[in-house]
Symmetry: C2
Subunit: 466 residues, 2 copies
Amino acid sequence: MSKLDAILEQVDTNMSASVDKLVHFLTFPSVSSQPEGKEGILACSDWLKSELGKLGFDVQVVETAGHPLVMARTGSDSGGVKALFYGHYDVQPAEPLDAWITPPFQPAIRDEDGLKRIYARGASDSKSQVWSVLEAFRAWKETAGDLPIDAIILLEGEEETGSPSLPEFVEIHRDALSCDVAFISDSDMWSPARPAITTHLKGLLHEKVTIHAPNGDLHSGHFGNVAVNPVRVLARILASIHDDRGRVTINGFYDGVEPVSPALRDQWQALDITEALSGVSVAGGPDEGGGYGPIELMWGRPGIDFNGLVGGNTGPGERSVLPGSASARLSFRLVGRQRPEDVRAKFRSFVEAGLPVGCRVEFEGCGGSSAVSVNDAGPYVAATARALDCEWAQPTLIKGTGGTIPLIELLTNSLNVDCIVTGFILADDAIHAPNERYDVERLRKGIRSWVRILSELANFKRGSNE
Amino acid sequence: MSKLDAILEQVDTNMSASVDKLVHFLTFPSVSSQPEGKEGILACSDWLKSELGKLGFDVQVVETAGHPLVMARTGSDSGGVKALFYGHYDVQPAEPLDAWITPPFQPAIRDEDGLKRIYARGASDSKSQVWSVLEAFRAWKETAGDLPIDAIILLEGEEETGSPSLPEFVEIHRDALSCDVAFISDSDMWSPARPAITTHLKGLLHEKVTIHAPNGDLHSGHFGNVAVNPVRVLARILASIHDDRGRVTINGFYDGVEPVSPALRDQWQALDITEALSGVSVAGGPDEGGGYGPIELMWGRPGIDFNGLVGGNTGPGERSVLPGSASARLSFRLVGRQRPEDVRAKFRSFVEAGLPVGCRVEFEGCGGSSAVSVNDAGPYVAATARALDCEWAQPTLIKGTGGTIPLIELLTNSLNVDCIVTGFILADDAIHAPNERYDVERLRKGIRSWVRILSELANFKRGSNE
């Protein structure tokens, strides 16, 4: 039996313990966007420190202005390449809680469709992704001794809030983070049989907009037909952001957008859209009226989305209130050379221009990230694809995503490191939604994939690109 | 000293006790639209039964499918007219609680602007209105013995939810409710110096509309640019309900609307709009572009208002969610011969026509009331105006309102009774809003007003209209 086969067998043998550890990881309510999540964040980062220590890494929990990062590295010099492995241990809020079939932080394993599915917030995005890497390290060490590379592990606690502390962290720890290649373990497969490496990632900014009427709450029976209603103002502004086909009407929004190359477009158009959407219906959705297919819309076109809406009476009963204010949350997904601050300024001017006399608008939002494209002709992309091809039934797809991972922009632009973005999330894992799930077989194949990637990396020389 | 003067003096002497009793009345959290309000509703109706019993009335608490009504009557035959006095003891929800300077069900009396202001939910709408009538009865009885009329008192617990049980109640108790005149004590003054009798009341219906996407919640980064967003669909539908000037665009909405008579219009246009609005700004508000002044818009024109809005992420943090649904609450204020069911059907067709393929709409709402106009040339209107003229600094105004009191339609149309709608609410009492308030001096003059009305009623013969 080859060394690789022995390590892969160790992965299979150890699966029961791997699942138990992941389940424990999933019990921490590490919700980064809610103040009440702080306790779960801290407990989770402490637990990760302890687990990484047991695996033989030098670990530190690095405090930031927000939530801490867990940073670990192999203690001795392997003589191999320096590779960074990034993941995040924070999760999205679990609300609405009553939509979950089992409580979001009490992981439950259910037999469904021939799979053992683990239900929990973070089951797919992204604790299973983090855990697959760590179990690969464990299997390697238990079977073959030291890793064949110098590994740096970086686990973030603010990914779901746009990574506000990461730029300063990367700037401060430039030397410690310097590496030959960085693996970003937080992305999806093309289909259950086909793995993927994501090379096109969109930029992102969030805005919250609140329309304030000149008055506070009023009786709608008395004043509804004569005083301005901020819900109506907000609805009119939101409705005017897109035309009938979903194309953004904000002046200059598309500045800096670059067309997808004809070659890549052809490749994307050849894909089976049913597989890409995995049960999600796009009936009635936007298409810009520009002849873009669904995949190009998702991976190659910028957009503005509405994530939340609240105003006036949100309770169960009727109430004759003319609300004093109404607000919406929006997110902007950017491509090409669109700049977040430029898009933000144009959006705010657009809203202000639509504001009736007497009303006032309040904006919340700062920062944001630009789009990133990773060079998909480099040797690490090819090595990773070879590794994945061996584990999965279908060949690796080089793809794009509408999602955003802020670290990639920082590593690419600040540290000039090649980033390999891969992971095993599927579209119907219900990430960011109630009943998020992952399956045990995918966990097993994910761990084995990382073992195979380590085995490929053993062939590289430090500082080399071949 | 005349008998009337002696009774009025008794009102003044007894004010401290009157305030204490009202304060106790205000401690009941009798919120009719929330399930958790039931306990407060029941405790409040029991307390009212006890208080009316102590005042010498025959009282019963009448159960309904919803909340109970408290019905009381004078025990002996006075030989005078039969007069019904209606009020409601239920209140609007108090949310948002953190906007209150003192807790909504712990009444606080504050010295402000030379007034003693009572802060509490229901302080103005409508517990002080109910209490003014009862204290007038108390002063009369303590000073002069039996009332000069046969009084029927009807206190409702569902006014703020559109009085769903009232039609059946009125039908069942037709005989017990038969009377010469009905006083509806739940309306506003023109200004702090000028009392009013309201003869034009709008009809009302509520609708809740929920747009369901074909999918549940999704990750907006992945699917935001290609799957339909129900917030966007809802915003577009709400935005299209009115044109730029606030005129409703729903086909046939204005069917049955009757123009205000030129004489009434002249009278309304002569009023000081600043007094009518009492600090409320109408900047940026709708005007239909039809040359209507603010008073005609409030009292004489129908409208559609947005009372609430909710969808997706309503929490404090950012969340990349493409919501699975979004909903809005609307209220429709009707005039003339507009029929609630007709307006509801037209609205629903309008929404359905604006729905993209793949989306589904869900409506909640039933019932509703038509507009009512009371004959303002009758003798009871004149008698009430004489009474009010004696108490207040300026002469009584005959006015309209955008508000709705379902009982009036029932009494006018079912029992053919003249309804006199009066009360002492002011526009800046913050009814239906946080920090609702009323002042002690207005309570005193309100009680005295009802004593003067009783004194006028003593001159009427039973069954007479003169």
